[in-house]
Symmetry: C2
Subunit: 390 residues, 2 copies
């Protein structure tokens, strides 16, 4: 068995949204398609990968460093020594050959894109959904059939803040979501509190169904002001108050704010994750870790991150990855994470889940097909076909 082709392209996921830090008007992603000579159901097994949103496509690093190393590898060097399959761990070591330690960003996205496609292939060769394969190999044995998902959005609507926001949130509830997330930090505290209260109204007065996200924008004083003002709402969580690497800020906030806090989407290695757990003062009984496997060197590295968590006394249940993609959903259902993010209607067709499996009571089912489940998303498959005809 061998890889016979690796195709790579960049696709736009531009949208007119913006958070407290950036706008997404030029956001794009890298896309890969890896073809093997293994035949299942009369067709060659193919794996698909793409990067999660927010950190741009990584075509340069893929074309100049990561893909050449994979292409130059002997087929034997990529083979699982215990199974007749590819070995994503050996592929990972090859892709990271002659890469210095530290500096985890961008490169971590490029490797994540390929890692996703490799796991898609591995599960297809075993003719299993990835979440089931993961549960058997690295998880509790049996995969979960559904995962908690929440609708991330809650943007700013200049000129009609309250109405626009409430309308957006009603839309998510109509789609089957129970829990929603909104942006904060793009307006004054006073205006943000009005927005929060407007959303809680839509949620039947239940603040525990609302998370808020500052996207790393606040300094300590502002983060504390928001913490004190928001505490009475009993929110689901308070996300990325300060710079993602400012562990001291996070630790101080954790002493002030009794509710759950969430962070980690902008940490891209198990070493960075370990520093967050060592120094960030996070509380394993309530806080949420949002490391995104697709942005962070893929599942091979995410398994190391879960190991770091276990050593620090954390349950995988505390993880709800960033990104809203099927890869993280498969990992969530397979390894017993706490759920997955979702961006209804945005970052399509990479974001979102299987076409015929709607959200119900804030949970989504996983498709029962081999691999990550991309074939259950018509528009995603159509995009791959248009990108890689030949």
């Amino acid at each position: 068995m061998r890889i016979t082709a690796i195709q790579e392209a960049t696709a736009s996921i531009a949208s007119d949204i913006r958070n407290a830090y950036i706008d997404f008007s030029k956001m794009d992603v890298s896309v890969v398609k890896i073809t093997t000579d293994v035949v299942r159901n009369g067709e060659k097994v193919v794996g698909y990968g793409f990067n999660s949103n927010g950190r741009y496509g990584q075509g340069g690093i893929l074309r100049e460093r990561i893909l050449p190393r994979l292409r130059e590898a002997e087929p034997e060097a990529l083979r699982d020594p215990e199974r007749d399959n590819l070995d994503p761990f050996r592929a990972w070591d090859l892709m990271m050959r002659n890469e210095k330690p530290g500096g985890h960003g961008e490169r971590s996205v490029a490797v994540g894109v390929v890692d996703m496609a490799l796991w898609d292939i591995v599960a297809k060769i075993e003719e299993k959904p990835l979440h089931r394969l993961l549960a058997e190999r690295y998880g509790p044995g049996e995969a979960e059939s559904h995962a908690f998902v929440y609708a991330a959005g809650g943007y700013y609507y200049p000129g009609k803040q309250v109405e626009g926001l409430q309308e957006e949130m009603r839309g998510y509830l109509g789609l089957g979501y129970d829990t929603v997330k909104m942006k904060i930090g793009g307006a004054s505290l006073k205006e943000d509190l009005k927005r929060i209260e407007a959303v809680i109204d839509v949620l039947g007065g239940d603040g525990s169904r609302l998370a808020v996200d500052a996207n790393g924008r606040f300094d300590l004083a502002t983060a504390i002001d928001y913490a004190r003002a928001m505490e009475p709402y009993g929110l689901r969580w308070y996300e990325e108050a300060g710079d993602p690497l400012d562990y001291a800020l996070q630790a101080v906030l954790g002493e002030i704010y009794p509710g759950p806090m969430a962070t980690g989407e902008n940490l891209f290695s198990h070493q960075d994750a370990r520093n967050l757990l060592r120094y960030g003062g996070l509380r394993p009984d309530r806080d949420i870790l949002q490391f995104d496997p697709a942005l962070s060197y893929g599942l091979v590295e995410y398994l190391r991150t879960l190991q770091v968590m276990r050593q620090a006394g954390w349950s995988p249940r505390r993880c709800i990855p960033h990104g809203g993609h099927q890869f993280a959903l498969s990992i969530a259902a397979g390894l017993g994470l706490g759920g997955n993010e979702s961006y209804p209607g945005i970052f399509a067709p990479f974001g979102g889940f299987a076409d015929d499996l709607p959200i119900e009571q804030g949970r989504v089912a996983l498709p029962d097909i081999p691999g990550i489940g991309f074939e259950a998303k018509g528009k995603l498959m159509a995009l791959y076909e248009s990108l890689f005809t030949a």
Copy 2:
């Protein structure tokens, strides 16, 4: 005044060296040339930038994100509000527009390449060497005319470890260096101790003229074994024992090893530098910080890092940047750092200093010409001409 052209290319700096972590057989760098419409001495002012070694060229990120933002900027948006010159701080904000926080690597290199060229231009427009401009604007007022440099090398010579290494080190002493650095961690402790003793012999028995570099390779147990074994030598410093992000390892080592330690070349932002100072247990009276401004978002960010250091009670004198390039040398002489790395004969023509200013007693003089001093390096200028004829 405005930027009229930005040219970008990739150049190889392949060499047959390797450290304990990677080999440099495919190492390359990004190179930029920025032309302005400002005329000095009858010619248009041009700035040159390139990335420091070890983290590869960043053509993808430059072409897709950083350079388009700069090219789309109005000339006014890049102008220094206080002087008739470019403003690298405003350029920095523009280049980092719509970039999320965290994940500092690769992108930090791309921005560093451009930042270098902008500072070259700023100093040329003021018709001063950069080190003098920096001393006046941000430093002690008067620049130093010379800086301490040490020869980094000390590679492995399969089959003739001791002889090859001693010959290499004698070569550095012959070039005028007083202090040298060698690799460790690529052989057994026993063999490395033999190599260390062989080099100390060449240095007249003075271990304080020798630094050793593990390139982040050791786990804690190995790092401690080396620390205990090397302590009697009284080495100049013990560099990057463990993973650059493993601050706990560094902190434990600092309690065990009384001699100077050095690290920081694989941390690429002021946030990462701050974490090292907060959590790494480094000692401001003896340890060395090696942040490389060219790999770390350039001088604009390096000034933030120096500010973080000052707040933590550190003198700039404790900095001896990684990289061996003239940009860091100018910063060292201008801002009163402790010196600069040098790789004699490697990474040419990007590494190394002015052609006609030899190393003397372990120090090098800075050329008295406008800008960073690239025009005093014939082969570097010849390479730029060959890359950007047009």
